[in-house]
Symmetry: C2
Amino acid sequence: MTVPAPSFDGDHDSLVTALARAGRAAQTQLAQLGSAQRKAALCAAAKALRAQESAILEANARDMAAGAERGLSGAMLDRLRLDPGRLAGIADAVAAVAELPDPVGQEIDRTERPNGLVLSRVRVPIGLIGIIYESRPNVTADAAALGLASGNAVLLRGGSEAVHSNRAIHAAMVAGLVEAGVPAAAVQLVPNQDRAVVGAMLTAAGLIDMIVPRGGKSLVARVQADARVPVLAHLDGINHTYVHAAADPAKAQAIAVNAKLRRTGVCGAMETLLIDALYPESASLVAALLDAGCELRGDARACALDPRIVPASDADWDTEYLEAILSVAVVDGLDAALAHIAAHGSHHTDAIVTEDTVVAERFLAEVDSAIVMHNASSQFADGGEFGLGAEIGIATGRLHARGPVALEGLTTYKWLVRGTGQVRP
Amino acid sequence: MTVPAPSFDGDHDSLVTALARAGRAAQTQLAQLGSAQRKAALCAAAKALRAQESAILEANARDMAAGAERGLSGAMLDRLRLDPGRLAGIADAVAAVAELPDPVGQEIDRTERPNGLVLSRVRVPIGLIGIIYESRPNVTADAAALGLASGNAVLLRGGSEAVHSNRAIHAAMVAGLVEAGVPAAAVQLVPNQDRAVVGAMLTAAGLIDMIVPRGGKSLVARVQADARVPVLAHLDGINHTYVHAAADPAKAQAIAVNAKLRRTGVCGAMETLLIDALYPESASLVAALLDAGCELRGDARACALDPRIVPASDADWDTEYLEAILSVAVVDGLDAALAHIAAHGSHHTDAIVTEDTVVAERFLAEVDSAIVMHNASSQFADGGEFGLGAEIGIATGRLHARGPVALEGLTTYKWLVRGTGQVRP
């Protein structure tokens, strides 16, 4: 079953208003459902995704054909492509979200005032969350599942390359949800691909409570520039690993190679290696990276470590490569490393490798990033690895939620005050 | 001592950039100071406010004279006015903030992953907070104290009516802070009153981390409309008290009179009274409010309760009076009360009076407001009454912090990951 689209006369603000009102009304109903019913609905949605495999793959084939015709790059086509294995993975992820602990109703703290008033803060859903994303059709299912599991309604606006895939995934999930008693409008997909709809979503303050952009830098930058609605954004991950003088060489080498090369395209990948001038094994450290196929761009002292290292330009220190390229600088001690990170970092994930715990604790305290690590690979920057079960993204802003964001980050709180007739003097 | 103003050639963006860079650098230094040193600095600032009483009162007298000449209203002049008692109160409030528990460095949670990584979230300052306010000079001291106590730098932009008072208060506080080792730029006052500076602050994304507007509705609305920087905003408090059929009449009357009339100009004041059609003492309830001097505007059934009640217009249900006027509706049961609040409330503070705890718990669960109360006056909506020691404001947005915001709401968190050489498979 598909959800009937609201009538649309070309006025994007009216369209978004109609969708948002329907979503808010559905969210109010959703908030009354218990945790068990929301979990059951997610399981039904996962089941429907599996049951409608052929319809979804057929829709995806149409998107793939259109994409090939439009000359999408191989990487883009790969992001767009579904097959039985990938679709099963999407359904499994939805079912896995259903198993996560429900944050809604959780008591954050409770105090009793001298006048007998009992105050508590409990987690509540944020409301209606707008998700704006690009060509990956799995986001349709992921975002819907995370939103619903935290009691929110979602308004999804996917990329036009994936329009048929998204509609098929959405229709399957809604069929499952409705069967389980969740109102269809709890998960809505914007019914047309006009770019002006995105603008209308971004300015729908009071109707949409939060926007989560999922995609490349230019999408996120546009959303941040134009939004009147609060944005949970993920920008660059210009992540540093600082190998301190007292680093264990085996750990340093394993961490550096893993942090850069395990997967180069993820936001937690290391982009700059800072080597302490007093670290004794710097030549073998850079050799290990070079031998593993990584291009190294160094400052003068780094270039002196190995003839294969090419000189870095000024821009290299501020670049998120997302490929097998790494900038390398030799620094004089912790303070120089901290200064480099403060000047060039993007406050995502930065790490130190050292056996000196005093130095490590200073690094943990003083680096102002969402995630700061000691003796670990920055590639652990991930909601799953953090035990959150999933993630809607890694927030690089400072407010509301920071770092990997899963269900808790999709809630807010309210204060409950229980009295016995108190009036204020 | 006064802080030298950055050189200014009329380019407001450059001015704000220079101020923000200085503030951010000072915040980095401030973050390295321990809690004890920040507390000592606040005590020194309080002492300096007391020591410079005559200079501050003299500056205030200049503002008062200019305000009278410009024909400011009596209410505005009263907000502007300082006297020895009020100034002592301001100094005392700064000293009291120094006594609050320091949230910085507090561990929110800690988990160990199966691979041995130890994850913790610790509270850290937000960074540089911009405060935009109107004619009350006490905000200069309050906001600076709350900002500093939570490790943040602040950039203050007060109203032009209070320019001399603000400068004198700022100069006194900075003198105290500097004496105690806090960099002067941790608390900066925008050195000119050009309104374009506000616009430059609102768009200084990446330089200012959060804006807190303190003032009337039009100021807050302008800030929300124009800001690119996240805003911690306080909008209307259209607060409801619902007197349920099973309310204790003595409690209902005491709470209603207190919620409306204790102080009518505060954001926690009740603006609409909902009386259940089955509540047996409705006539005496409205009589108590009328006898206490409150104007009542009712729907048809409320008007039938007392001839002194005048008919309400549609606009009354959406009005924050902030004076001795109250709208009153008779509603048929809890669901009708919830529907009225959902339609007309501003998600600030809503209360129920009832002896039926099942009904009360449904009200607490289903009303989507920052503060929901049972058997208590909505005038308790206040950081001090909540045991927070102070407040920078009551947030009516949904994200980051909600309800009364004090030190904790002025912090964010970072994730610390402590490993022993783990790499990601």
